[in-house]
C-alpha cells in the first residue's frame, strides 16, 4: 500500500439509530490517527426551556426529549423532584413505576435487537429486508415489542409519551382486571424472549473486546431500573447526589451533544453491558440461565455481544413484570400529596441505553430555577469513538464497504439515541 494515500470510506447519515449523525475515521500509514463521532442534530434547549416552568410539568416536558425512552425521562424527573421536596413513595407505587419501566425496557430493547441491530449480523439493510428470509423471527420480535408497548399503555395510557406519571405517583393506577390481558401476553413473551436470546446467541461475532470502565446503578435487592447507588467496575460507589463530583461534561465543537467523562478525563460505558456486568447476580434465575446458555459469563466486555445482553435483559423485564403483576394490589391512593419547597434534587435511573441523570433546583412555589440532564448516549460518545478507533485498527484488511458496515454496526452496538443526546451522526472513514 502506498504511504500517504488517503482512502476514504463515507456514509452520509448513519441508519438504524434514533436521530441522525456522522463519523470520521482517519488512517495514515496504517495507523488510525483520528476518530470523530459528529452529532449535528439541531439542539432543542430543554434545560433552558424548563426554566420558569412548574415542577408538575417536568415529567411531561422531559419525556419529549425522546420518543423511544420517554418513561426513563419521566422517572428520572419525578424521582429528582421528589427528592427535592422530601417525598417518600410508598412500596405499591414504587412497584408500579418499576412495572412501567419493564414495559419500556422490553419495547426499546426488542426494537433494537430485532429491527435495528440483528440485520447487521445477518447482512440485511433493514429488519424489513430481513423479514423476507426470516419472517418468523421478525414477526416474533414485533409481537414481543408489542407486549412492551401494551404494558406501557396499560399503565401510562399510550406507548409514546405516556400521560399517567406525576410527581408523587400516578394520576391514575390500573385495576387488576386491566392488567390481566397484558399478563396473558407476558406469559407468551417469556418464551418468545427466551427464543430471542437463543436466536441472537447463534450470530457470528467479530471477537472484539475492550477493558471498559462500566458505570451503572446497583441496588441491594434488585436488578436496577429506578433506584440504586452509582457504581463502577473500578470501585466507585456513590449516591446520585455525588454524580457531578465524579463526572464532567464538556462541549466539543464536533458534537451538539456534550461529551461526558470521568473527572480524571477517562471514558466510561453505560448501558446494557455495564448494567449486566455490574449486576449479573441481581438477574432472575431464568435470565441468568439463559445468559449462561447463550455463552455469556457474568461479565461481558464484547460490545457486539450487547445484542445478547439486550435479549437477556428483555427476558428479565418480562419475568419481572410477571412477578410484579402477580403480586399487584392497586394502591389506595394513586399519588401521595405533594408540597413544594425550595431546594435541589437529583436522581439517576437506568434508561434502556444506560444511566440518565436529572438535577433540578426549585423555588418555594415549585417553579423550576435550574435543570441539568445527562442522557446515556452523551456519556457513551467517548467509548464509541474509542471502539471505532480500536476496531478499525484491528480490521484494516477489510474492504472499504465491509469496514464501513462494521463501523456502523460498532456504533449500533450502543443503540445510540442521538435525539436524546441531542443529535445527527455522519460516518466517514478516511485512510491513507
Amino acid at each position: 500500500m502506498k504511504n500517504q494515500k488517503t482512502r476514504t470510506i463515507k456514509v452520509d447519515a448513519l441508519a438504524r439509530v434514533e436521530g441522525e449523525g456522522g463519523l470520521t475515521v482517519k488512517v495514515r500509514n496504517g495507523a488510525v490517527t483520528d476518530v470523530e463521532l459528529r452529532i449535528y442534530e439541531p439542539p432543542r434547549f430543554f434545560e433552558a426551556l424548563l426554566r420558569g416552568r412548574q415542577y408538575a410539568e417536568a415529567p411531561d416536558f422531559t419525556s419529549r426529549i425522546c420518543g423511544i425512552c420517554p418513561v426513563a425521562y419521566q422517572m428520572s424527573a419525578v424521582h429528582a423532584i421528589e427528592r427535592a421536596f422530601g417525598i417518600e413513595i410508598p412500596a405499591g407505587l414504587r412497584e408500579l413505576r418499576r412495572l412501567l419501566y419493564c414495559g419500556e425496557c422490553i419495547e426499546s430493547h426488542v426494537l433494537h435487537v430485532t429491527m435495528l441491530h440483528a440485520p447487521d449480523f445477518l447482512g440485511y439493510e433493514s429488519g424489513l429486508h430481513m423479514a423476507k428470509d426470516h419472517p418468523a423471527e421478525v414477526t416474533r420480535g414485533l409481537q414481543l415489542k408489542k407486549v412492551g408497548n401494551q404494558l406501557v399503555t396499560a399503565i401510562g395510557g399510550r406507548e409514546i409519551h405516556p400521560v399517567s406519571v406525576k410527581v408523587g405517583g400516578f394520576y391514575r393506577v390500573p385495576t387488576r382486571q386491566e392488567l390481566r390481558p397484558v399478563e396473558e401476553r407476558l406469559k407468551w413473551a417469556r418464551e418468545a424472549a427466551l427464543e430471542t436470546v437463543r436466536w441472537v446467541s447463534r450470530f457470528e461475532f467479530p471477537n472484539f473486546d475492550r477493558d471498559y470502565e462500566f458505570v451503572a446503578l446497583r441496588h441491594p435487592g434488585e436488578y436496577p431500573f429506578n433506584e440504586g447507588r452509582l457504581v463502577s467496575g473500578s470501585g466507585l460507589d456513590v449516591d446520585a447526589a455525588e454524580y457531578e463530583r465524579h463526572f464532567v461534561e464538556e462541549h466539543v465543537p464536533r458534537s451538539n451533544a456534550l461529551h461526558s467523562s470521568m473527572k480524571d478525563g477517562g471514558s466510561y460505558m453505560v448501558g446494557p453491558l455495564a448494567r449486566y456486568s455490574l449486576n449479573f447476580d441481581r438477574l432472575s434465575p431464568v435470565a441468568q440461565e439463559a445468559a449462561r446458555e447463550a455463552g455469556l459469563g457474568p461479565v461481558c466486555r464484547d460490545p457486539f455481544r450487547s445484542i445478547i445482553v439486550r435479549a437477556v435483559e428483555t427476558l428479565y423485564a418480562v419475568d419481572e413484570a410477571l412477578r410484579i403483576i402477580a403480586n399487584y394490589e392497586p394502591p389506595d391512593e394513586p399519588a401521595v400529596p405533594v408540597v413544594p419547597r425550595a431546594g435541589t434534587g437529583c436522581a439517576i435511573t437506568e434508561a434502556p441505553r444506560g444511566i440518565l441523570y436529572h438535577y433540578y433546583r426549585l423555588d418555594d412555589d415549585g417553579l423550576i430555577l435550574d435543570v441539568k440532564i445527562v442522557p446515556p448516549t452523551s456519556q457513551n460518545q467517548k467509548a464509541i469513538e474509542e471502539d471505532l478507533g480500536s476496531f478499525v485498527q484491528k480490521h484494516l484488511d477489510l474492504e472499504d464497504q465491509a469496514l464501513t458496515w462494521r463501523c456502523e454496526q460498532a456504533i449500533r452496538n450502543y443503540d445510540p439515541c442521538i435525539s436524546c443526546a441531542t443529535h445527527f451522526l455522519r460516518l466517514t472513514v478516511e485512510r491513507g
Binding site: V11, A13, L14, A15, R16, V17, E18, G19, E20, E41, P42, P43, R44, F45, E47, A48, L49, R51, R53, Q54, E57, D60, F61, R64, I65, C66, G67, I68, P70, L111, M115, E125, S126, G127, L128, H129, A131, P135, V138, L142, Q143, K145, K146, N149, G157, R158, I160, H161, V163, Y171, R172, E250, H251, P253, N256, L258, P334, E408, C417, S419
Partner: protein, 264 residues
C-alpha cells in the same frame, strides 16, 4: 408483448428537530408493519433501513420542525423530491415544544446548555414545515396516534382524503362517556379547545387535557381561560398551559400572549 410490472409506491420518512417519537409510531404498528412493507417500497427511512432508494417519492412523511439554517434549506429538497408531503406530529405541524424559544431570546439560552456557544448553529425560532414549503396534509399530535397515521398512509396510497375526526377532545369525552374532570373535580382541562385524535386519554386518566394535539378549529380559548380562572388558575398558569407542545400554533399563541399581558 410484455406487460410492464407496476412498481410499488415509494414511501420516505424525514426527520427534522424532533424526538423521533412520531416516526417511531410507524415502527410501533407491529401488526401492520410487514403488510405496509409489502405494498410500498420503504425507500428512504433512515431510522429503519440503511438502504436509500432514489426519489421522487410518492409519499413523504415529515417529522420535526425547522430550527437551523441548514434544515431551512433541506426542507426545500424534501419538497422537490416528494409527490405528496404529509407532516406528522406537533413539531412538524406547529413547531413543537422547541418553539418555546420563539417567546424567549434564544441567544440567552445557548450558554445555558453549551459551553462554547459560538459553534452552535441555530435559528431564533422553531417553525412548522408549512411555513417553508407547501404541505399536502398535517397530522397533529405529540405524539401522533398510530391509528390516524395508518389512515393517512392508506388514504394517500389510494388517492383519497384521510377520514379523521375534527372535533375537540371535549366531544371525545362525551362520545366515550367519560366523566368531565372539570365539572366533577374542578380540574382545568384544555379538552374544549384541543383537537381530538388521542382518544381523550388524559381525562380517562383523571387529569386535564394538556393540549398535545394542538388547537381545534374555532377554539374558544377566551371562554376556556375564564372557566379555568374561576377554578383558581392564575394568568401565569394559563400562559404555561397554552405554551407547551403547540405553543406556536396560532390560537394557543394568541391565548398565551393575552394571559401574559393580564394581571391577576
Amino acid at each position: 408483448m410484455t406487460i410492464k410490472r407496476q412498481s410499488k409506491p415509494k414511501l420516505a420518512v424525514w426527520k427534522f428537530a424532533s424526538c423521533d417519537g412520531c416516526q417511531l409510531s410507524l415502527l410501533d404498528c407491529e401488526d401492520e408493519l410487514l403488510a405496509i412493507a409489502g405494498i410500498v417500497d420503504v425507500a428512504n427511512f433512515l431510522e429503519a433501513s440503511r438502504e436509500v432508494l432514489k426519489g421522487p417519492y410518492d409519499l413523504s412523511l415529515v417529522e420535526g420542525s425547522i430550527t437551523t439554517p441548514h434544515n431551512a434549506e433541506r426542507i426545500h429538497h424534501v419538497r422537490r423530491v416528494s409527490k405528496v408531503l404529509v407532516t406528522i406530529g406537533a413539531c412538524a405541524t406547529s413547531g413543537g415544544i422547541q418553539a418555546l424559544r420563539n417567546f424567549a431570546a434564544v441567544g440567552d439560552w445557548v450558554p445555558l446548555v453549551y459551553a462554547t456557544p459560538s459553534v452552535i448553529e441555530t435559528l431564533k425560532t422553531s417553525t412548522p414545515i408549512s411555513n417553508h414549503v407547501p404541505v399536502d396534509f398535517e397530522l397533529p399530535g405529540c405524539p401522533i396516534d398510530k391509528g390516524q397515521l395508518l389512515e393517512v398512509v392508506n388514504a394517500f396510497l389510494h388517492r383519497r382524503k384521510p377520514l379523521l375526526p375534527s372535533h375537540s377532545v371535549c366531544v371525545e369525552c362525551k362520545i366515550r362517556g367519560l366523566v368531565c374532570v372539570t365539572v366533577a373535580k374542578g380540574i382545568p382541562c384544555l379538552g374544549p379547545v384541543t383537537q381530538t385524535g388521542c382518544g381523550a386519554i388524559c381525562p380517562a386518566y383523571h387529569r386535564g387535557c394538556y393540549g398535545c394535539f394542538g388547537p381545534v378549529k374555532g377554539a374558544n380559548t377566551e371562554a376556556l381561560g375564564t372557566v379555568a380562572r374561576r377554578l383558581g388558575a392564575s394568568h401565569p398558569d394559563l400562559v404555561r398551559a397554552f405554551r407547551s407542545f403547540n405553543a406556536a400554533a396560532d390560537s394557543f399563541r394568541r391565548a398565551s400572549e393575552s394571559h401574559e399581558k393580564s394581571e391577576d
